[in-house]
Amino acid sequence: MSFVSAAEADKKAYDVIVVGSGAAGGQTAYTLTMDGARVLMLEAGRRYEPAIETPMMQTNGDAPLRGAGTPEKPFGFWDATIDGGWGVPGEPYTSASDDPARKFMWWRARMLGGRTNHWGRISLRNGPYDFKPYTRDGLGFDWPIGYEDLAPYYDKVEMLIGVYGSNEGLENTPNSSPGVLLPPPKPRVSDLLIQQRSKKLNIPVIAGHRAVLTTRLDHQRLPKLLHPGNAKAQKILAEDMQKRAACFFATPCGRGCSIRANYQSTTVHLPPAFDTGNLDVVTDAMVRSITKRKDGGAEGVVYIDRKTGTEHRVKARVVVLAASALESVRILLNSGVANSSGKVGKYIMDTVGANFSGQVPLLENMPLHNEDGVDGLHLYTPWWLYKEQLAGKLGFARGYHFEFGGGRNMPGMGTASGLEWLNGGTYGRKFKEDARRYYGSFVGFAGRGEMIPNEDCYAEIDPKVKDKFGIPILRFHWKWSEHELGQAAHMQKTAAEIIDAMGGRYSVKPQSGDKAIKQGGVIIHEVGGAIMGSDPKKSVTNSYGQCWDMKNLFITDGATLCSNADKNPTLTIMALAWRSAEHMLGLMKRKEL
């Protein structure tokens, strides 16, 4: 079993159809196939092979426009994303408002593995507070599960994909179980300076957590822990883990990784799933809707072959939507199912984002050395002002973390540009000296905070516009609340204080929240739209992503998240997907599906 054509898939019988091949689809298919379920995965984009398609070691000088981003490759030429970005040709979406502050930007990719191929690999666990936010401050919704329910699955995902980090025991910043995390990379000079000066401001700086192999995975120990009592799964995983190399500390992760040293669905989830013989994948399969059985259950899906335009129908015992939160919402709305609560499309969230940067004289004219490391997030700042917030001192709810970076990165179009605020505008030999002096002396802080779900942020079907396949598209409504704007302003002010404490300077002063906050969707952490809950009247699914109205329809992507902690959602999506897939397996074994 492997890649099959639509015609071949039509003739076969499957236990589960999984729509989507990214973090959620990959994890769902992995867990199901390793335990014997026969899975058909439908991916809207093309087949993609990181081993032969990844630009390893190419420099920006090797790319058109020196690698700078364009509307066709928004994150730069070498970025792994295929046929994607905030616009996909022939597949529009609309906004209900023309006001830029109320528009939503939707990033998609049309490729096997979806957005995991270019993902930043930041892998933070939600903490205990993050599952009960309503109980803590009366805003948003509590999850129907607590941290203790998901902790074992966080451990499993971290062991499978490989996550580096450290256990610090900080408030609402959980430790992983012993032996789970890989060692973090050594900090860069700028990291250590930020850490030293943050300490004076009582701001913590600890090792980052990212899905990058700083050492090879322990193929003797981990498969037994991940698949107890399943000798076949253990053997397959042990063999596959040996094919993954450790990071060689060069080449940015956003390009993907041909040596499989970081996590992407295509290099970590799908290869062992294929090895079970239980996974078939049809690519270029654009799902339109879910079909219904006479008894009200899900029968299967209708999809359109992107290359031929022909329509296909496939059936299975269980249908899983893992198409990315908003694509799953679109399929649900276009199918007219699972929406007796009227909550499908509601409560969509992104992450609050605001950036601030400066220049630090202490980092000028550094002795030359290689700072590539593992690319991103050697250290970071977890949210730290829990007590001040509880005491009502902050003026906004929920928290944020800082992802920061400095260092002597691979030169690109930004290198030695815009120096006039530092050197008054030079040219000639003086300019070349300035370029050397200032290179590597800049630091940037990206605040990433929790958005609270609200009634003004939702998606619906646009009554007029359809995509090139004739499928109705989404129309977005968006509005930040005072909490998000307050966070964004606090991010700016705090980042400026840290740069001040480093003896640094900045060309732009801290801005107000409404000016600093990134547009909705720009951080690409969109979740919600089919939230989980414990009341079928107020939610779309239970904690397993199982739809209240359709027991054999599951959602395993970010659509079910009923809050969006500042922890970046991908690790949580994978942990939920693993838990959900185990539940499906149990129900299928007990013939309850």
Partner: protein, 212 residues
């Protein structure tokens, strides 16, 4: 791109009005730049990431003969040869700038509308002050013009537009140069090398930042 052409010709006449006769300007529109076709496509949303890409590959270059000479001269005024590295034009920066301003994307089209008129202004200013092409000026003459426009913040009002051009041209020159192998080496980038272990910063670097 007809807008560019219109803008270009408007600038030419504005520049011409400041010099004795039109003949004093060496440029013809053809020697300045060819249009970017209105329907020119980019590299697409699924370009081959493993093949070799060179300026002129994804879309045609458009700089004319004379504008190229001005570009060479200005690039090398901004990044001349010194003890550590050669001048910008010797490592392909002119071809890169040509690729940039010939690209069909919004940012690059906006930059083209700054760079092409700017080159014309530079040529006219050179004729006005020294009755020579910019590329033919000696170092002191080139600097006399550059000193008036190298700082957007300090430039006199009559040089404000030219200073914006210089600023953009300098950024393109720097981006083009520091992404080449010699440029990366010059600026002190030592990465993009596969390593068995990542050892972190050397003790001298930590000392310099007051961390050891």
């Amino acid at each position: 791109m007809s807008l560019d052409r219109r803008t270009t010709i408007k600038w030419m006449f504005a520049a011409a009005a400041t010099v004795p006769s039109l003949q004093a300007i060496a440029y013809t529109p053809e020697a300045h730049a060819r249009d970017v076709a209105a329907n020119q496509s980019g590299y697409g949303t699924d370009p081959n990431l493993t093949k070799e890409w060179r300026p002129g590959g994804p879309w045609p270059l458009t700089l004319g003969k004379d504008a190229r000479l001005t570009t060479i001269a200005l690039c090398d005024l901004i990044i001349p040869a010194d003890d550590l590295s050669p001048a910008a034009s010797s490592v392909g920066v002119v071809e890169f700038i040509d690729e940039w301003i010939s690209a069909p994307y919004p940012q690059q089209r906006a930059d083209r509308a700054v760079i092409l008129p700017g080159l014309l202004w530079l040529e006219a200013e050179s004729q006005k002050r020294f009755t020579k092409a910019f590329a033919a000026l000696d170092q002191a003459q080139k600097e006399a013009i550059a000193n008036d426009i190298c700082s957007a913040g300090k430039a006199a009002p009559e040089f404000a537009t030219a200073a914006k051009f210089f600023d953009k041209f300098r950024d393109l020159t720097a981006g083009g140069f520091y992404t080449t192998p010699v440029g990366m080496k010059d600026i002190g980038y030592r990465g993009n090398v596969p390593l068995e272990k990542f050892e972190g910063p050397p003790i001298e670097a930590l000392r310099k930042a007051g961390l050891a």
